[in-house]
Structures are given as structure tokens and as C-alpha cells.
């Protein structure tokens, strides 16, 4: 399909003996905000790594802009990554570089721009996330939320066509969370950046996502806009959406009969 930015075709992937993906297919159109959600450990971050070419699927293909990611050589992959930004859960700023140098890093690697130009671009990006004043600080001197915002500035340094967000809302206070939501929305609306958000924060994600994919047990169990999903009847999706403690994903870890186990302990 000409309109998809990313296409995942029947991908399987295992880590050790665990099947993480078992024939998953999905499509991410240009310029949309797509959320990938699911229970913890369902391999959402792994999917981002497959799209970014850090991992190769066991079977199936991943297409980015009509290029098959797993067959690219080093140089082609380098070129592909120039057009992808990734925001990691912990920010993942380089601790030995200042905020300024962190944002300048992709610029220095991928372009031959003179330092004056890089300086201006870095300041613009930091201004966009509201941290221009903190450019000389080091990651250890910034709060968690600020770390993530600088990391976002770094992710957009090269004005990529696609940005992947790995758990962008986790562990942030409501204000910081609001800031990040706002930034993601702005980037998408103003620049038409395709945004892939991996999260299990339903509320925030549903408020900005155009499409939501729900992955559980290595399979795609739900797809559609937030409104469509809320109406989905499947009990698994209902449990996830409503946040029910018990349902298709059981509350109790498999164990013996409770009464039996208690009675075994003897009298006290």
C-alpha cells in the first residue's frame, strides 16, 4: 500500500524459548499517530527494535518506506536511521555529554554542517521542548522529565519523518506528562511526523492516537481507532481497556487449592 510508512508482515520473533511474536501483521500510515499497546512483556519494545533494524525477525518482513529493513546493509541502514527518531523510556542520554552535545550528536554524525549551523539548530530544538536554558547541564543534573524532553529534542534533531516513542508517559508527573503529550501532538500536526507510541498508559495514549493496535500473547488481538476499540466486545480487550484485575489475563498465578495449602500448615 503506497500510503503506509511502515508495514509489518507476518513477523515471528523469539527470545530464547519464548515466542514474542507469532505471525503479527500491522500497518502504519504516513503522518498518523499509531499506538501499540498491550500487557507488560508483550514485546512492544521489541517491535520498535524490529522496525529500527536493531533486531531481525525470524520469519516475515518489516518494510519501512518500501525498503525491507532486514535485508539492508550497514550503509543503507545508516541512511534509514537518519530518518527515524527514537525516544527511549529512560531518555538514554549520553551521560558524558551535556544536553547541548547530546542534541548535537546526530547532527554531527549524519551531516557535515558547520558548528555555527549546528549550534543554531540545537538551540531551536531545545527551545521546542522548552529546555534551551538548560543546554549546558549534564544529564545527571536534570530531572527525569527534563531528561526525556532533551532526549526528545535529540530525536527530532534531524527532522525525521518518523518518531518512535517507547513508553513516553511512564513515570512522569501529570504536568510533565501533559508537556510530552502536547509535544507529540504538535510534532504530528505541524510537521506531519509519523508517530509510533508504545505504551500501556491507556488514557493519555487514547487521547492522541489515531489508531491503536493491541498485542497480547504474541498476536494482534485488536486494531482500530480509540472509539472502535472501546466498543470491541472481545473480553481480552475489554479487560485491558477497562483495567479489570481479573479476566482473560488471570489475577492469580497458577497455584494449588487455597484451602488445601492453608490446612497443610498445621494448627497454630
Amino acid at each position: 500500500m503506497p500510503d503506509s510508512h511502515v508495514r509489518v508482515e507476518n513477523v515471528t520473533f523469539s527470545r530464547g524459548t519464548r515466542r514474542i511474536f507469532d505471525g503479527v501483521s500491522l500497518e502504519i500510515p504516513h503522518g498518523k499517530i499509531v499506538a501499540i499497546m498491550g500487557p507488560s512483556g508483550s514485546g512492544k519494545t521489541t517491535l520498535l527494535r524490529l522496525i529500527g533494524g536493531q533486531l531481525k525477525p525470524a520469519t516475515g518482513k518489516v518494510w519501512v518506506e518500501d525498503k525491507c529493513v532486514s535485508t539492508l546493509d550497514r550503509n543503507e541502514l545508516f541512511g534509514l536511521r537518519r530518518n527515524m527518531g527514537m525516544l527511549f523510556q529512560s531518555g538514554a542520554l549520553f551521560t558524558d555529554l551535556s544536553a547541548f552535545d547530546n542534541v548535537a550528536f546526530p547532527l554531527r554524525i549524519h551531516t557535515d554542517m558547520p558548528e555555527e549551523m549546528i549550534r543554531d539548530l540545537v538551540l531551536i530544538k531545545l527551545q521546542a521542548v522548552g529546555l534551551r536554558g538548560a543546554s549546558q547541564l549534564f544529564p545527571s543534573e536534570l530531572s527525569g522529565g527534563m531528561n526525556r524532553r532533551v532526549a526528545l529534542a535529540r530525536a527530532i534533531a534531524l527532522d525525521p519523518a518518523m518518531i518512535m516513542y517507547d513508553e513516553p508517559f511512564t513515570g512522569l508527573d501529570p504536568i510533565a506528562m501533559g508537556v510530552v503529550v502536547q509535544l507529540i501532538r504538535t510534532l504530528n500536526q505541524v510537521f506531519g511526523t509519523t508517530s509510533i507510541i508504545v505504551s500501556h498508559d491507556l488514557q493519555e495514549t487514547a487521547s492522541i492516537a489515531d489508531i491503536i493496535y493491541v498485542i497480547a500473547d504474541g498476536k494482534l488481538i485488536g486494531a482500530g481507532s480509540p472509539e472502535e476499540l472501546f466498543k470491541e466486545e472481545s473480553p481480552r480487550i475489554q479487560q485491558f481497556i477497562k483495567g479489570l484485575p481479573d479476566g482473560p489475563v488471570p489475577f492469580h498465578y497458577p497455584a494449588r487449592d487455597f484451602k488445601e495449602e492453608l490446612l497443610e500448615g498445621g494448627d497454630w
Binding site: 527494535r49 529500527g52 536493531q54 541502514l77 545508516f78 536511521r81 537518519r82 527515524m84 527514537m86 527511549f88 523510556q89 529512560s90 538514554a92 542520554l93 549520553f94 551521560t95 550528536f105 546526530p106 554524525i109 549524519h110 532526549a151 535529540r154
Partner: protein
Amino acid sequence: MISSLRRVGQHVLLLLSVLGRSGEIWFQAVWRRPRIAHAPLLIRQIYQLGVLSVVIVALSGFSIGAVLALQGYNQLVKYGSESALGLGVALVLVMEIGPVVTGLLFAGRAGSSVTAEIGLMKATEQLSSMEMIGVDPLQRIIAPRIWAGFISMPILSLIFCVVGIWGASLVGVDWLGVYEGAFWSAMQQGVDFNSHIMKGIIKSIVFGLVVTWIAVFQGYDAEPTSEGISAATTRTVVYSSVSVLVLDFFLTLVMFNF
């Protein structure tokens, strides 16, 4: 019987796979032509691994040289051969104690810090993000450290030997009264540059490579948790130290006995 054989076999396979993985990392990091742009990284690493180890190496060298002179004197004076003190201490330092003890100190100080640093970078996803930006962490993080270890170890070992001999001369000549001329002339006659000093340098180069290789791999392979990093750091120190000692035996065997 079969099950214990199987367990041994599993351990051997595990060891081989570890060796293979670490060799692959080492190979990928070092094989590609080093880029001039990475020179500042190398310089910074030589500072971290080499320069910051000088104090501990010099202090240890001085102490060991002095002790060797002290003990050596006590034994040699029984045979009236104190004039051979300089020669004995110099040979022992240059051929064995210098490279080996420097290797152990290097493993403890520089090796553990490299492992912790790389492990932490892995745990905080810095290595991943670097890869996603399109930079090969093997070239940018791993390679400079390997080269820095390769360069720093021999230099540290030489410093150890020089300071050690100086310490020995202070104890032997200035304190215990060994005749200065005999101390130095016996040493100069008996120590051969090619058969003694060069071999010591070769040892220190080998130790530098092995210690850095282990340190880098343990960090790269560490579990990205705090227990994982601490376990990896401990493994670096233990494996490096044992490797240095065992390799020393084999190197000595090959270099001096064949």
C-alpha cells in the same frame, strides 16, 4: 556419570559460545579501520585507563622493589653475594613481577571501571540509542577502550619496573650499604635488553589485551540491572586476574624455556 559428563559438556559449550561472542565483538570493534575522528575518544580513554592508574602502579612498584631488595639482601648476604642484589631484583621485576602485578592492578582498577561503565551504558539504553542514531557502539565505545588498554598496559608496566628498581636501589645502596658500583654493574651485565626486557614488554602487551578484552565483554554482556552490573564487574576482576597469572606461566614457558 552421564549427567555429570553432560554438565561438563554444557559448560564447555557455554565457554566456547562466550569466547566466540566476545571474539566477535572484539573483532568487529578493532578490525574496521579506526577513524581519525575517534582520536579524542582514544585519548580520553588512555587518560581514564592509563594515566589514572599511574599512582597506584608507582606506589606498588616502589614498595615491591623495596621489599625485594630487603628480602634479597637478607638472603644474599649469607653467601657474601650482596653485589648481585641489583641484578636479581632487576631480573625479577622486569621479567615477572612487573608485567604480572601491573596486570593485576590494571584488572582491578581499570578493568572493573570499564565493565561498570559499559554495563551501565547498556542498562540505561545508551548503547541502544546510539545504535538507533546510526552510530556503531562497538566502534565508538568499545574500540577506543581496547586500544587504550593495549597502549597503557606496557607503559604502566615499564613505569612499575623503573620505580621498583629505584626503590630497590634506595633500600639496597643507600640504606643497606650494598656497593653502588657492584649493584648497577652486575645488573647492567646480567640484564639483556632482548631476552629480558623485551619479553617483559611482550607479556605486558598480552596482559593488556586480555584484561581489556574481558572487561569490555563483561560490560557489554552484562544483565542490565544493578545486580547484573555488579556481578559483571566482579567477574571481570576475577577472570582477568586468573587469566594474567595462568597466561604468565605459559608465556614464561614459551619465551624462556624453548
